[in-house]
């Protein structure tokens, strides 16, 4: 237990490992392998692929803007500037100009980002958790459980998403972005569940899963240790697709005026206000409409590039080339691996 004195902060991940380090060395190993497999190797693959790198950078930009933008940039307010100012016409005071009520357009874009990100994260997590839970259960349990879950999945997949969302949004009138995110993805999980189910079916025929079964390991253990790591790429890609679904649907519904909003206007509301405010008729107001359109398109493009790049994670050869740290435990690892596993090594 001498290590405890070494870790001054005492709240990092190390603590969990210290408690068991002497007894089960292999657990550390396992966590390290999991870390390598789930985070390090995918991270390297993403960084090696140009498309994924661009996509990841774009997503990072939006996340940073969402996290820090509202604190750093002024809040949009009616009459905070002259009306209908063109972009850059007054230096950098109104970089993207103002709308017909004198609100700074860049400020509107920035201040709409955090709730958008909350919505995306909530939707993405919901889809991922539901999809993985239902898919692995159905695929691994088989039998009647599988049939019931598959039937439910098929039914949910058949319900057209947008109309259902419109009705739910009208009935519930969600104000909270997290709730909105859940409503927008209420039927998206079914696709992932079906995909994961078929993956699990093919994986569970592999000999190493049978070996685990023969060793008498419990079903949850087999799912977590043998099956989940194999479907992580699917999960990641679905998360990205769910994010795009949330963006498309939420912007569309805000544009239609289906979802309620308050003083902070969503990008979709901006489009709606620009369209009804005559931005299509007067060329000098064009920036009002272009700004939200470009914002949405760029984010969506970033997400799709990212998901295209991560496609490569399906390819076991690419994976093998990048996940160097696992399997080389006995010999000294390269700098990269040592740095990334630094928090865990003894």
């Amino acid at each position: 237990m001498s290590e405890r004195t070494e870790s001054l902060h005492g709240i990092d991940d190390g603590e969990a490992f210290e408690a068991v380090s002497d007894a089960t060395m292999s657990r550390q190993e396992r966590y390290r392998r999991l870390f390598d497999r789930w985070i390090l190797a995918p991270g390297r693959i993403i960084w090696d692929d140009l498309r994924a790198r661009i996509g990841a950078s774009i997503i990072l930009l939006y996340v940073l803007v969402g996290l820090f933008g509202p604190k750093l940039y002024k809040t949009p307010r009616v009459n905070q500037g002259p009306r209908s100012v063109a972009p850059l016409s007054e230096g950098l005071t109104y970089p993207l100009g103002t709308d017909n009520l004198g609100r700074d357009i860049l400020a509107q874009l920035i201040h709409a980002t955090p709730s958008m990100l909350q919505m995306i994260t909530a939707g993405g997590l919901f889809v991922t958790i539901m999809g993985v839970a239902v898919g692995t259960t159905a695929g691994y349990a088989g039998g009647r459980t599988d049939r019931v879950l598959s039937l439910i999945t098929d039914i949910v997949m058949t319900i057209p998403g947008l109309p259902l969302i419109v009705i739910l949004a009208a009935l519930l009138a969600p104000q909270n972005p997290i709730v909105t995110g859940l409503i927008l993805t209420v039927n998206v999980w079914a696709g992932l569940a079906r995909e994961i189910r078929s993956q699990v079916l093919s994986i569970s025929r592999h000999s190493y899963v049978e070996a685990s079964k023969a060793m008498g390991l419990s079903t949850p253990t087999i799912i977590v240790k043998d099956i989940l790591p194999n479907i992580m790429p699917y999960v990641l890609i679905t998360f990205v697709n769910a994010a795009r679904q949330v963006i498309f649907a939420s912007i569309g519904l805000y544009f239609l005026g289906v979802l309620p909003y308050d003083s902070v206007v969503n990008w979709g509301v901006m489009i709606d206000q620009a369209v009804s405010g005559g931005a299509m008729h007067v060329m000098s107001m064009a920036h009002w409409l272009i700004a939200p359109l470009a914002t949405i398109t760029l984010l969506s493009f970033g997400l799709i590039l990212f998901s295209q790049g991560t496609d490569r994670m399906f390819n076991p050869r690419v994976r093998a080339r990048h996940s160097t740290t696992t399997g080389s435990d006995d010999e000294p690892t390269d700098d990269d691996a040592a740095a990334t596993t630094g928090g865990v090594v003894r």
Binding site: D154, I155, P160, F255, V258, S300
Partner: protein, 341 residues
Amino acid sequence: MQRYYLERTLQAVVTVVSVMSLAFFLLRLMPGNPADAYRAELIQNNPQMSQAEIDHRVEQKLNVLPDAPLHEQYLNYVTGLLSGDLGESINEGVPVSEIIAEALPWTIFTMSIALLLSFVIGISLGAVMAYKEGSYFDNGFSVTSILFNSIPNYIVGILLIWFLGYRFKLFPTGGRYSTEMDPTLGLLEPIQTVAFLGDALWHAALLILSYTFVAAGGWALRMRGNSIQVLGEDYLRVARLRGLSERRIATRYVGRNAVLPLYTALLIAIGFALGGSVILEQVFTYPGVGYYMIEGLEARDYPLMMGVFLVMTIAVVLGVYVADLTYGLIDPRAQTRGGEH
């Protein structure tokens, strides 16, 4: 095989009934549900009306008998729906089925053209891209397809209506056909019919285009992937060794095997097209079913919204059902594994 057909039929029925149950749940059991809200509104606005009269009105509009036991309400609602009674629009005062029957042909008209166009463009582009894999043509169109596929179609719609509609005034910005046009469809008046169809097409053109641009990109990418996979198959080498012409190989061997898996996707896309029209029709003020759904929403006209929702769901169920049943007939490879899920 018969068991498979039976299973699929049963599943389609179960799906339709579950969606109807969902509609009932949303209408009746949600806190502050529309049925109660409408009833309260009636009582408030018509104090002189008797209880029975009010219940009758609610039943007529929403297909829900407010005072009956819940299971009776449910049975009443579902049997009503199954016999084609979608309730009555609260605001328009006409049966919902009438509104839908009037709007549906227009949505089918635009969406079927858009789907067909995007499918044909998509698979042709995808096939050529696959043949020229790695060339500038392939790379250029791959990026373009990804780009178009990454934009929601209503944003393309807004851009199109902005520039082609308002700026250059090449296309009308809303409506089904010109006001001075007589809607004529008949073999006896060929000239008027053609003129009318042309006018309708002109009005729907931007809507069709914005759907097509986005969807074609998706089809092209899928077709490209399928074709590249087929191009690597051994039987192509055999076909070449047999001395078959390149043209025959391209159409009968590569094209056919690459398109067949898209057949299911196409049928499902047909089913979902109705639902996909919701936002687009609003952008173009095109009165199809999607347009009426949002109209119903803005007026809190739940019977209308639910009716449109149910029709859209049934379209998807039909699409999936037909795809499941006929795929074995179209692609002989699937017959052997037809019983599997």
